[in-house]
């Protein structure tokens, strides 16, 4: 597979001397769905904005389908569609006009048939003559997607496509993303949620503090990240972990009143059942059991420390 986007040694320092991107190297394969995963302020929007021409890079190069985004900006931007994170729409425009406007901005001749198809796919056809201010938030987001698709882009950027979107729309958004991919569009999306990255993407890049700390096939990453924590609250305090439980790699916390066990949910034999059995036979009494998925922050910490 060839690379449709190639970013090398990209740095962005904002006017206030804040370094938002640090030496980013990233290649996106043609036809894949790539998820940029990272906490607030990681630099996801900045990264997308530099590729799309909204933010000037401080150094480094970006190529889209082989075209440099600065020196050959027309060819590069022509094939990109962008759905930004913020909902920004011209309140007084109708759905039809605003989507047609986007198409003309990209220099494409009018094609009402195609716009009709886009609006129908996004369930916006019956709203085509409505002014944008009369639409709900979720509908506005779909209008922004329609605008991004209006010029038949090869690459689509979705900056937090599911923020503020209900469960049903979220599902249909996921479906839409997969349908687009089938039609050959490369998709780059950002998200805070591991589940979303898992559901939607083929590959994940984790970004934090302006650095890409890892890129990995989604399935591989899920194995690494599928860790859960089992917390066992005991009735009495323990001096130390009993001999027969040492093989479980437990740790003592909570003033020696609790045991923590990490296990992998993806694994067939994760040891939880055995551990409970051995607890019983060692004569320890438990008061309560808790399991917890590692949070995104913990995962980041873990990844950074690796």
């Amino acid at each position: 597979m060839s690379h449709v986007i190639e970013i090398s040694n990209l740095n962005k320092t904002y006017d206030n001397d804040f370094k938002a991107l640090k030496d980013i190297n990233l290649s996106i394969k043609s036809g894949e769905i790539f998820a940029l995963l990272g906490p607030n302020g990681a630099g996801k929007t900045t990264l997308i904005s530099t590729v799309c021409g909204i933010v000037n890079p401080s150094s480094g190069t970006i190529r889209v389908n082989g075209h440099n985004v600065i020196s050959d900006f027309r060819k590069a931007r022509e094939i990109i569609g962008l759905v930004p994170q913020e909902l920004t729409t011209d309140a007084f425009e109708t759905v039809w006009n605003t989507v047609s406007f986007s198409r003309s901005l990209f220099g494409k001749p009018k094609n009402p048939k195609y716009i009709e198809e886009v609006l129908k796919n996004l369930s916006l056809w019956d709203k085509k003559d409505n002014k944008l201010m009369t639409l709900s938030g979720g509908m506005k987001r779909r209008v922004m997607i329609a605008k991004a698709l209006s010029h038949e882009p090869m690459v689509l950027f979705l900056d937090e496509p599911t923020a503020g979107v209900d469960v049903e729309l979220r599902k249909s958004m996921w479906e839409m993303v997969h349908k687009l991919r089938e039609s050959g569009v490369t998709i780059i999306l950002t998200t805070h949620y591991i589940e979303e990255a898992e559901e939607m993407s083929d590959r994940v890049g984790v970004i934090t503090n302006g650095e890409i700390i890892l890129t990995e096939e989604t399935s591989t990453l899920m194995k690494k990240l599928g860790k859960k924590e089992l917390k066992i609250d005991l009735r009495s305090t323990l001096e130390k972990i009993p001999e027969e439980l040492l093989k479980y790699n437990l740790s003592l916390t909570n003033e020696n009143q609790s045991l923590i066990y990490f296990y992998d949910t993806q694994e067939e034999n994760n040891g939880v059942a055995d551990l409970i059995n051995d607890l019983n036979s060692s004569g320890l009494k438990c008061r309560d059991l808790n399991t917890r998925q590692s949070s995104l922050e913990e995962i980041f910490v873990e990844l950074v420390n690796q």
């Binding site: 904002y14 006017d15 904005s49 799309c52 021409g53 909204i54 933010v55 000037n56 900006f73 027309r74 060819k75 931007r77 022509e78 990109i80 962008l82 930004p84 913020e86 920004t88 729409t89 011209d90 007084f92 006009n97 406007f101 986007s102 003309s104 901005l105 990209f106 220099g107 494409k108 001749p109 605008k147």
Partner: protein, 254 residues
């Protein structure tokens, strides 16, 4: 390669905005012109003697048109580019395959078209109140075009520079309106005491109005060639400023 469709799309978008607010865009200049004529033309004007052999009511027409075209150009263009920056919809224009010059042509083109339209409406309204002569129609149109384009460019620069609605109003309010009022719309520079005559020559609007009035009645405070040079100089300064903005990507892109 030029993205004509994009220029046209921006132009049409801006013009559509004008027509959506047709009442505001057209009624307000018509009403204010009519008021000027009631106050200055009929009430006060009847007691003011002719200037250069022109009745006072007719004398103020070119100045009124210039005043309106000038302020309309600035406000249309500055608002046109500032508003999408303010709402965030500018993202779309920045990420489209359009150059800065093309963006500028779309916005400035629409702003000057609208200003020209308003100028013509005022001309027609004035003709209902007083006698109007246009001795040099070609020059009249040239002056109108140059003024609307130049000051739309100026407005565009303000719209890019401003980072709040106050700043958007600041320059028009503090600089342009006083200069325009003191630019000889309502009097001939020759009527001023000598010192103020001298000071007036530093006011660029004086040259515009003088030249424009010449195209109507063939009488001018300043040689028409000098007027033309003055407006060309302002145009040149605006283009230079735009070129600097273009080079630095100033405030359109982070």
């Amino acid at each position: 390669m030029i993205n004509f469709r994009a220029i046209l799309a921006i132009y049409n978008f801006e013009m559509a905005r004008t027509f959506r607010t047709l009442g505001q865009s057209i009624a307000s200049p018509v009403i204010s012109t009519a008021l000027y004529f009631v106050v200055f033309g009929s009430a006060i004007g009847s007691r003011i003697e002719d200037i250069d052999g022109i009745s006072y009511g007719s004398f103020i027409v070119p100045g009124l048109i210039m005043l309106t075209v000038l302020t309309q150009s600035i406000s249309n263009a500055s608002f046109g580019i500032y508003f999408p920056r303010f709402t965030g919809t500018i993202y779309e224009i920045l990420s489209a395959p359009i150059s800065f010059v093309e963006i500028l042509l779309g916005y400035v083109g629409a702003a000057s078209t609208k200003a020209l339209m308003v100028g013509i409406i005022i001309l027609i309204t004035s003709a209902l109140f007083v006698d109007i002569q246009i001795l040099h129609p070609f020059w009249m149109i040239l002056f109108l075009f140059l003024t609307s384009f130049t000051f739309s460019l100026f407005g565009f620069i303000i719209g890019i520079w401003a980072d709040g609605f106050e700043k958007l109003q600041l320059i028009p309010l503090l600089i342009v309106t006083p200069l325009a009022f003191l630019g000889g719309s309502f009097y001939s520079i020759k009527m001023l005491p000598p010192l103020w005559q001298k000071i007036s020559f530093f006011n660029p609007v004086v040259y515009l109005i003088s030249g424009f009035r010449w195209s109507f009645y063939g009488k001018a405070d300043i040689n028409v060639g000098i007027s033309l040079m003055a407006i060309s100089l302002i145009l040149f300064l605006c283009i230079t400023a735009v070129a600097v903005i273009f080079k630095t990507g100033y405030k359109l892109k982070a």
